[in-house]
Amino acid sequence: MFSKILIANRGEIACRIIKTARRLGIATVAVYSEADKDALHVEMADEAILIGPPAAAQSYLVIEKIVAACKETGAEAVHPGYGFLSERAAFAAALEEAGIVFIGPNRKAIEAMGDKIESKKFANAAKVSTVPGYLGVIETPERAAEIADEIGYPVMIKASAGGGGKGMRIAHSRLEVAEGFARARSEAKSSFGDDRVFVEKFIVNPRHIEIQVLGDKHGNVIYLGERECSIQRRNQKVIEEAPSPLLDEATRKKMGEQAVALAKAVNYDSAGTVEFVAGQDRSFYFLEMNTRLQVEHPVTELVTGIDLVEEMIRSAYGQKLRMTQADVKLTGWAVESRVYAEDPTRNFLPSTGRLVKYRPPAEGIFDGVTVRNDTGVFEGGEISIHYDPMIAKLVTHAGDRLTAIEAQARALDSFVIDGIRHNIPFLSALMQHERWRAGRLSTGFIAEEFPEGFSPLVASGEIAHVMAAIATHVDHVLNVRKRAISGQLRAQGTLRFQLRRAVLLGKQRYDVEVVGGGAALDIVLAEGRSLRVASDWTPGEPVWSGTVDGVEMAAQVRPILNGFTLAHRGVSVDARVYTRREAELAALMLERKGADNSKALLCPMPGLVKTISVHVDQEVKAGEPLCMVEAMKMENVLVAERDVTVKKILAREGDSLAVDAVIMEFA
């Protein structure tokens, strides 16, 4: 076995690879940019080599620097992780030349699968199901209609040179084909200067399902079941699971065997993923093959019990696969959420800054439920603008899908992140979503279910009752403690507080009565409904965890004036627990109007002001750009929300701004 390997990556994947290497007794070398000098992967590795400035193009993407780092440290092999150099044939070649092993597939396989047309050819040759269509040039609408008849409706007419939806038409009938053909052609001509179009089957409500394959250098390839990654936002996967709720055993086998056939056709000898698009009728068609470890590989690891990184290392070293297809058993269900530093309530704008608090849920196996958190950050660390905003991958595994989803929801509820904005509220809301729970997925899920973007859920029904009960418990604990202060008037503990209370969740009032004490409280809600709440929560703990009527629950508790914000299952609400009298008097208070920010443009995220598009006294119409702020290499154009006149510009180009910093004021 190798005695030392280098990990040509950063973040959670570098940490995850180091863990396996360490378990195998292999020494590890990390590489890092200047921005990552305090990063977790550097801390975890046995050695670390600085490879340049923060920009990936000058550090993590520079092949010579990685090769030099290997030579300097004597690393015998390199694991590329995902992204960066993981699918660059030139990198594999450079390592080969330097006599260093690439922990991944052979160079030819990377090249073959890296080319869209080439990979389709291999797929056809290997009898892998591909999207039915006609790839030749079509001259007339009549010919297009004939082809469409053959393929079956609906079909998509696409520009050969296309991209970005331009020159694309969906047709459900002969008539629509004829019409769409002409339009697609003219659009293609005007957009790309090339009027060639082709026709292929259009898959309605497609799902993204991929097969994990694993090969060795001895011609063996097996498949490790599928993952479904249909929950995507703008082609970015958000939630992944294994297995897929769509597939049956027969389809799984058919897909798996096709994936293996394709892998064998290119002598695939590592871990790889064959991606398919699937129809709701379980039809499936090859999309592409990713010749690397996928971000979402942990779900496969949890249902198969196989450490994919370990198998990659063994294969790269030349060992034979230790299992056959018959040994592969899928057990239970695994769900993964990608925790991103992005603000779901502000159209998922990236968020950067210091992780003032970072307390992921406890990892391990509890009552048959596995919680795993792959991360590359730590409390007090920094989410920088230079790289991917992923903070962690939270994975739960249980005997069945709903139990795994419940476990995921609970784990998200106890995942504390402060200092930056993150998408946990959105992930929690997804976990509560009926359609997700029912497994009725498609890649359009998020666009269809959240057409207006995301706003936090409002407490209602059972969740509201549970939250009212938790709020009452928190308040009770605080009250008991307050009554223990020194210096009281009466020597005997005659001071009690009222147990009939009113819980305000936002403006919604729930009258409750606390019965009992000690280990569990019975919290009586309206109509005699009673919830038994037990928890060892103490003041100051950011996570309340305990049971409500015997069901394990978690919620986050953040103190605010006279109360606390309670976050649970995608709901975040200001909770205030009053006596009935206090609630009665509080109801007399007038609503304050919030500070008027419409007279100023506030920076929506921490970032760098790249350009200011207006000048003082300029009249700007609603929708016109005011300035551009760059964060995480993303350019964010800030537009006027209404017609305004610029009164004062406070920020200058090149300024680094914090969130809510005033950029300009309007008259």
């Binding site: 608090k357 007090g380 210096g487 001071l495 003041p539 006596t579 007399l588 007038l590």
Partner: protein, 510 residues
């Protein structure tokens, strides 16, 4: 007998109605509570013992003898906040607009005398129209009696004022002499002369809100220490403040059982100080991670944000925290920050509250406006306050401690009991660039030499070790161990005995 009991009940019921249903309704319509409702929220359930409910005014001019309302516009008494005694008076706007008569003033002074004699905090709730004009000089005399008692009680018992409605003219000076003033946004204002008089005298047009609203007094004038959105919020937060305060200057700080391990290590503090010395960081993160359960009651949050002051607890016992805030004006000391810090330090010293100072200060703010504004005297107030304080003083230098500001911020030389520094501390006369340009003025034309000298200076002086070598710093500590070290230090200092020489009183540079 029964009849007599019933008569008491009837008289009580009438007194409790104050100015009557219509006025109570009007009060509620403005989003304000009545005096008795406010007291109900402020005190523990059923703990209020009212005094002088039947007092009426004795004015016979201008037809006043025909309108008498029991209580005469102020509700007074005592009760408990989480079991601890407090005295309270609340102006009743529904009775004569809460205006002050001789009898009204006597009710207040009675409570003030009792609070002082019995060594318990006094809380005044203000919502009133000033002096009762009809009573003339008798009302003025009443004010004077109240003021005198405010002054005698100052530094003996905590005095807190809540402004929950109008507070103008003579009414403003009693709150002004108390320790803390809280205001309610939108419904309260404070000024000596109102918008009408201002218009007549100076021809300035200004609204009551812009002249003396909560926003003005918490940000600009610093008259008020906190502003709250409504009566309920203000009253419940006052309860929270009381939990931090000792009953008097002869009492210990209260002990609230804590669930937070005093030896808790916080590794994230090791990365709090940015690599770039010019980059700010939020000192409130440090405070929140040091105090019990992250519970910090900030005083004057909106004013002079370059210094943070407030109360927290360590091992369940109250500490006063003073910290330079790099996020605002780089944490520099200016006139406002100096005055804010000084007043807070003196409050802590009055009431046996140990002072923890977190220092990251680049110096005093230069500038014409500052010098003309009396920075020397204002800065001297903070220096004076720290130097005279005899309570336990623990100081932690996190980063910069430059120049005279180093001395001021509870340094060893001002009888700091325990002075600690993080390894990131830079204790020096000034930053490297300025120092090198003065010391090596001859080399100023040679950038290479200057750079070399700067590096030398940084290596030698921008560290805690020069100060530590002299014993100005007792120990250089790991940031992650700050809470643990601090809690041990404060425990050790609990029996500290230190007295200043006898004097009638000092002469702080006002």
């Amino acid at each position: 007998m029964k009849q007599m009991l019933e008569r008491l009940d009837r008289r009580r019921a009438r007194a409790r109605l104050g100015g009557g249903e219509a006025r109570i309704k009007a009060q509620h319509a403005k989003g304000k509570l009545t005096a008795r409702e406010r007291i109900e929220l402020l005190l523990d359930h059923e703990s209020f013992e009212e005094f002088d409910m039947f007092v009426e005014h004795r004015c016979a001019d201008f037809g006043m003898e025909k309108t008498k309302i029991p209580g005469d516009g102020v509700v007074t008494g005592w009760g408990t906040v989480n079991g601890r005694t407090v005295f309270v008076f609340a102006k009743d706007f529904t009775v004569f607009g809460g205006s002050l008569s001789e009898a009204h003033a006597q009710k207040i002074t009675k409570i003030q005398d009792m609070a002082l004699k019995n060594r318990a905090p006094i809380i005044g709730l203000f919502d009133a129209g000033g002096a009762r004009i009809q009573e003339g000089v008798a009302a003025l005399g009443g004010y004077g009696e109240v003021f005198q008692r405010n002054v005698l009680a100052s530094g003996v018992i905590p005095q807190i004022s809540l402004i929950m409605g109008p507070c103008a003219g003579g009414d403003v000076y009693s709150p002004a002499m108390t320790d803390f003033i809280f205001m309610v946004r939108d419904t309260s204002y404070m000024f000596v002369t109102g918008p009408d008089v201002v218009k007549t005298v100076t021809n300035e047009t200004v609204t009551a809100e812009d002249l003396g609203g909560a926003s003005v007094h918490t940000t600009r004038s610093s008259i008020a220490d906190r502003a709250y959105d409504n009566d309920v919020e203000a009253l419940l937060q006052t309860r929270r403040l009381i939990d931090f305060l000792p009953a008097s200057n002869t009492d210990d700080v209260p002990l609230l059982p804590s669930f937070d391990d005093p030896d808790r290590i916080d590794m994230s503090l090791d990365t709090l100080i940015p690599d770039n010395p010019n980059k700010p960081y939020d000192i409130k993160e440090l405070i929140a991670k040091i105090v019990d359960e992250g519970d910090f009651f900030e005083i004057q949050e909106a004013h002079a944000k370059n210094i943070v002051t407030g109360f927290g607890r360590i091992e369940g016992r109250t500490v006063g925290i003073v910290a330079n805030q790099p996020m605002a004006l780089a944490g520099v000391l200016d006139s406002d920050a100096s005055r804010k810090g000084a007043r807070f330090v003196r409050f802590c010293d009055c009431f046996n509250i140990p002072i923890v100072s977190f220092v990251d200060v680049p110096g005093f703010l230069p500038g014409v406006a500052q010098e003309y504004g009396g920075l020397i005297k204002h800065g001297a107030k903070l220096l004076f306050a720290y130097a005279e304080a005899t309570v336990p003083k623990a100081t932690i230098i996190t980063r910069k401690a430059f120049g005279g500001a180093y001395d001021v911020m509870a340094s060893k030389h001002l009888r700091g009991d325990i002075n600690l520094a993080w390894p990131t501390a830079q204790i020096a006369v000034m930053g490297a660039k300025g120092a090198v340009e003065i010391i090596f003025r001859a080399d100023i034309a040679d950038p290479a030499k200057i750079a070399e000298r700067t590096a030398e200076y940084e290596a030698r002086f921008l560290s805690p070790f020069v100060a530590a070598e002299r014993g100005y710093i007792d120990e250089v500590i790991m940031p992650h161990a700050t809470r643990k070290r601090l809690s041990r230090v404060l425990a050790m200092l609990r029996n500290k005995k230190l007295e200043n020489p006898w004097k009638k009183h000092d002469n702080i540079p006002l």
